[in-house]
């Protein structure tokens, strides 16, 4: 089979799961959005004073980028969950479904509100006067005259909302809701363009089909063709059934493995899932989670296991700014996780994925730069590229202050494109990840850190509090602890990141297990 065919059939195999989840979250949000917006819009036509604040609120929501809106709901719900936990003894999962549905519900409101208000206000005043004059109550006037007459405009709003929600639902992946966005986020990270396109096309097709079915219903109602309305409604039900039925027959997994948004994480999550399955344990995945989201998801038990890095926890969660040797960090971190969050540290995998400043070998040699200290003199003439979070992270502040680094220019870019950017000379230095396979491929050198300003970043296996003493889980994953050195991880990462003979994360994970077993 061709490489394209292989990736395509791999994507196709995930479709029932991704599409089903996508449809569930979109339909729930849309239904909730309609249930809220339609009555609100009707009330706004009766009380003109409410109109402006309502539309202004919905418009403001619309200007918030979808990703940000979704991300905002996660900490909010986490806080509420903690409150209900304290008050009633039961919390709820703040990950995935709930934040996605709530954010998408807000997103669906503007077109429905605006079109319903416009539709009702646009009715011929003579007709409205007649509805009162023949003796209708305001309620009868609404249901017998105003809503039926405004229906085409309202339906247009509902169609717009449906298309928006289905499109924006792809962004619910980073808050832990599986959707068609999983294709896009995973594909972007592993440069699997077939996956990215597959996700985009699937979401677009779903939106178009739903839009056209709603249009069919609308014209059926307007032209009083019952058959046409029924066909449209039946089509919507069929889409729902087709998307949902495969999901019902799937057994729910005993364990959930989490992954952040980059190649190494997808590979390691695949590896853990394969190990669990090899040990007869069922395992599901939550991929593409944000760095803070995944940690909180583990602490609250929404996921059972994932790989994090000691420096991340040191700086972001323990709020430590001091630099300590590798062993000290591991030890203190383990104790802190247990005490503060109940999270168990199963052990380090054996490699570090640390921030490291990297340059093209020829450029470094030409300028005579081997350490970060050597860089300081040249920095004012050089441009540095970093991923989206690097320049906001405490590591960058520590590095900058320890050495007095001052670059001519800072550029933020997607970590996927960082390596080719430095290789092409678009930037001179990047904040590379030390285990990334592209360091070897693009012939980059990482600069040593004599002042030890950057904390160590040991990859560590973390278990959720309720899994801390789970023997089956520990036994399945223990063989990975201490078995993956940085060269092996780089090579594995490269297998999934390279352009030629690209492997899927699952294939790369199987290759990695073979190497561990051969040791």
């Amino acid at each position: 089979m061709s490489e394209f065919g292989e990736r395509f059939s791999e994507a196709l195999a995930r479709l029932p799961d991704y599409l089903g989840q996508h449809v569930i979250v979109s339909v729930t949000a849309l239904a909730l959005g309609l249930a809220i917006s339609l009555p609100l819009a009707v009330v706004a036509t009766r009380h003109a004073r409410l109109r402006w604040p309502l539309l202004a609120f919905a418009s403001i929501i619309q200007t918030i980028p979808g990703l940000a809106l979704l991300a905002l709901f996660y900490p909010l719900l986490l806080g509420i969950s903690a409150l209900t936990e304290a008050a009633f003894g039961t919390g709820f999962s703040a990950l995935g479904f709930l934040p996605s549905v709530l954010a998408l519900t807000l997103y669906s409101m503007l077109p429905v509100l605006r079109n319903t208000i416009t539709g009702i206000e646009g009715i011929d005043p003579a007709v409205k006067a007649a509805s009162l004059g023949v003796g209708m109550t305001p309620r009868q006037s609404l249901f017998i005259v105003e809503l039926p007459l405004a229906l085409p405009v309202i339906m247009a709003g509902i169609r717009t909302a449906a298309v928006w929600v289905i499109g924006t639902a792809t962004l619910s992946t980073p808050v832990g809701q599986t959707s068609l966005g999983n294709y896009i986020f995973a594909g972007l990270q592993t440069q699997n363009w077939v996956s990215v396109l597959f996700g985009c096309v699937a979401a677009a097709l779903l939106a178009i089909v739903v839009d056209q079915l709603l249009a069919l219903m609308e014209s059926g109602i307007a032209l009083r063709r019952r058959v046409r309305t029924a066909v449209g409604a039946l089509g919507i039900l069929l889409v729902l059934a087709a998307a949902l039925v495969p999901g019902w027959s799937r057994p729910t997994a005993a364990y959930v493995v989490g992954a952040k948004t980059f190649t190494e994480q997808y590979i390691l999550a695949s590896l853990m899932q394969q190990r669990l399955q090899a040990n007869g344990l069922s395992a599901a995945r939550r991929d593409g989670l944000g760095s803070t989201v995944i940690f909180n998801a583990l602490a609250s038990g929404d996921i059972d296991v994932y790989v994090d890095y000691s420096g991340t926890i040191w700086a972001n969660h323990m709020r430590r700014t001091d630099a300590q040797p590798r062993e000290v960090v591991l030890e203190e971190m383990g104790a802190w996780l247990k005490k503060e969050r109940g999270i168990a540290l199963l052990g380090p995998l054996g490699f570090e994925n640390a921030y490291a400043l990297a340059m093209r070998r020829d450029r470094a040699e030409q300028l005579g730069i081997r350490t970060i200290a050597d860089l300081v003199r040249h920095a004012p003439q050089l441009a540095i590229g970093g991923d989206y979070e690097f320049f906001d992270r405490p590591e960058w502040a520590a590095l900058r202050d320890a050495y007095g680094l001052n670059f001519r220019r800072q550029r933020q870019m997607d970590s996927t494109f960082m390596y080719s950017a430095v290789a092409n000379g678009e930037v001179d230095v990047i904040s590379a990840f030390s285990s990334d396979g592209r360091i070897a491929r693009f012939d980059l050198v990482t600069l040593t850190d004599p002042k030890q300003a950057l904390p160590p970043y040991d990859a560590v296996l973390l278990l959720a509090p309720r899994r801390a003493d789970d023997k089956a889980l520990r036994d399945a994953l223990m063989p990975l602890v201490g078995k993956i050195d940085v060269e092996l991880m780089r090579e594995t990462n490269l297998r999934a990141d390279r352009d030629e003979d690209k492997e899927t994360p699952a294939q790369a994970a199987r290759w990695l297990w073979k190497q561990i077993g051969a040791q």
Partner: protein, 268 residues
């Protein structure tokens, strides 16, 4: 006039618009109007736009409320009556017709009976009777939508809708204003016959004096919120007290004379 109490009675009605805010007295739309309409009368209220005639009509079925004074309907103060039930007891023919565009002719006609909870078969029979009354063949017209009707047909349906629930009183707000002269005359004459046949009491508003003279039992002339004169067409034609009404009543006669002259002059 008969000894029976008037169907509609206005007592010292004042209506202001835009009042209420401190320091604003508002626009005086009706200035101490007193008027009564006996059973079976066809009253036409004539006046230029802005004279207050539509406001006066809307007070009867409580689409509007007076600032001061009382409106009595069949002897009861309308303020004591539920406005929804009151409107279902009174037929109303709207300016610009106001048929519901998404409903068929039959559904439009049957709307008030439907609101009153008449059973379906009784409504169906009633629709056919009404369409016959307004000279539209039920078989041809029942299932048409308003947009498939001519202006005259629409207003006939509007009349049928107004009298569907067998009201004793029909209010008409410039009902034939938008029709061409031929249709207008035909629909007007047909309605006058219905009025007599069904024993209705009708209050109609128009700015067309000729229409008023041809249809009315009695005419009330309004000007700037006041009823400046009232009487039978004959009384007003022969003995108007004010210059304004005299000029107004002169119009049909002048037109008729001009027409006659034209006919004679044009004859061989």
């Amino acid at each position: 006039m008969s000894a029976a109490p008037p169907v509609i009675e206005f007592n010292n009605i004042i209506k202001r618009f835009g009042a209420g805010r401190p320091g604003e007295s508002g626009v005086l739309a009706l200035d101490r109007i007193s008027l009564s309409v006996p059973v079976g009368e066809f009253l036409v209220v004539v006046g230029p736009s802005g004279s207050g005639k539509t406001t006066l009509l809307r007070l009867i079925n409580r689409l509007s409320e007076p600032s001061e004074g009382h409106v009595l309907f069949e002897g009861e103060d309308v303020r004591a009556l539920d406005p929804i039930l009151l409107r279902r007891r009174i037929g109303y023919v709207f300016q610009g017709v106001g048929l519901f565009p998404h409903m068929t002719v039959a559904e439009n006609v049957a709307i008030t009976p439907r609101l009153l909870g008449w059973p379906k078969d009784k409504r169906e029979t009633r629709v056919d009777t009404l369409l016959e009354l307004v000279r539209l063949s039920p078989a041809d017209y029942r299932n048409r939508l308003p947009r498939e009707l001519s202006g005259g047909e629409r207003q006939r349906v509007g009349v049928a809708r107004a009298i569907a629930a067998e009201p004793h009183v029909v209010l008409m707000d410039e009902p034939f204003g938008a029709l061409d002269p031929l249709t207008r005359d035909a629909v007007g004459q047909d309605y006058r016959r219905l009025h007599d046949k069904l024993g209705l009491t009708t209050v109609m508003i128009t700015h067309d004096m000729l229409e008023a003279v041809l249809l009315a039992d009695r005419i009330a002339v309004m000007h700037q919120g006041l009823i400046i004169e009232e009487g039978t067409p004959h009384e007003l034609m022969s003995a108007a007290r004010t210059d304004y009404v005299r000029d107004l009543m002169q119009m049909p006669r002048t037109q008729a004379a001009r027409l006659k002259g034209l006919m004679e002059g044009g004859a061989p």
